[in-house]
Amino acid sequence: MSNPLTDFIFGTGGFFTIAIVILLFALGSITFIFRRTLLHMLMAVELMLNAVNLSLIYFSRLHQNHDGQILSLMIFVVAACEVALGIAIIVQLFKRTGSISVDTYVTERG
């Protein structure tokens, strides 16, 4: 009645998936905090959104429910908006200072 893939998803595959989610999210947050380049920080946010999407889709499959898939589609749209806005801001900052390093902007207070 059950095939090996379903047994895998309900068993060790769940642990493997959640481990991947945790590792991807940790990599994204480390990149966001410790890289000093605006483009890397923007891409790190994308990586964290992808990690959350994977967990949503896994639990959607686990519970046989489409709600997680639809929520992940909404996250796609939010990520697209975020990239468009972030790229526009980065281009404006680059036109202003000629650099995309975060250290350039330490004087921008208040």
Binding site: F15, I22, I30, A84, V91, K95
Partner: protein, 183 residues
């Protein structure tokens, strides 16, 4: 071992490798390539998890549109190489091991609490979870039917968000650095 299970492991490891490339690559174009690898690998994992529509959307929207936009702007900016001489913050060698240990601790706790048994995650699921998945789960027909009936408000609302983002981007790029409009 089933071929799908083997590919699931391969895709997971490739996704982690892409994230590592994003973290350690000096130039943003290499980081973007690593992120692209992660996205394609995650699309494969979605397909194995029977989210076929989302896998296609992942390839079209993320790998096709968003990453092309990022790579296009990396090429457009033509950044001097001095920006990359010190790519990490000073606290990297202190903070990154702490965050990595935290992540490994989370995985360890996950394994000790629910990960060890044969049907560990199946016991978590509600309702008819232990049953065989229906063949059309995740297909485009049932997915779009649900999106356009039960979640119609969210669909329209997110389109409003897209429109607001377009207006915001136009208003940002019209201003120069003194806050005046370009001629």
């Amino acid at each position: 071992m089933d071929f799908n299970i083997l590919m699931y492991y391969v895709f997971g490891i490739v996704a982690i490798a892409g994230g590592l490339v994003l973290l350690f690559a000096k130039h943003p174009i290499r980081g973007a390539m690593g992120l692209l690898t992660t996205m394609v690998a995650l699309a494969g994992m979605y397909a194995i998890l029977q989210a076929h529509s989302i896998a296609i959307f992942q390839l079209i929207i993320y790998a096709g549109a968003i990453m092309v936009l990022i790579i296009y702007f990396i090429m457009l900016l033509d950044i001097k190489s001095e920006d990359y001489l010190r790519p990490f913050s000073k606290l990297f060698w202190v903070g990154a091991p702490i965050l990595s240990l935290l992540a490994i601790f989370f995985i360890y706790k996950l394994y000790t609490v629910i990960g060890g048994e044969q049907d560990a995650f199946g016991n978590l699921s509600s309702g008819s979870l232990a049953e065989e998945s229906p063949e059309n789960f995740g297909g485009i027909k049932i997915f779009s039917t649900k999106l356009l009936t039960k979640y119609l408000f969210a669909f329209e609302y997110v389109s409003t968000l897209l429109f607001a983002a377009i207006v915001a981007v136009i208003s940002i790029v019209q201003l120069d650095w003194k806050g005046r409009k370009n001629e």
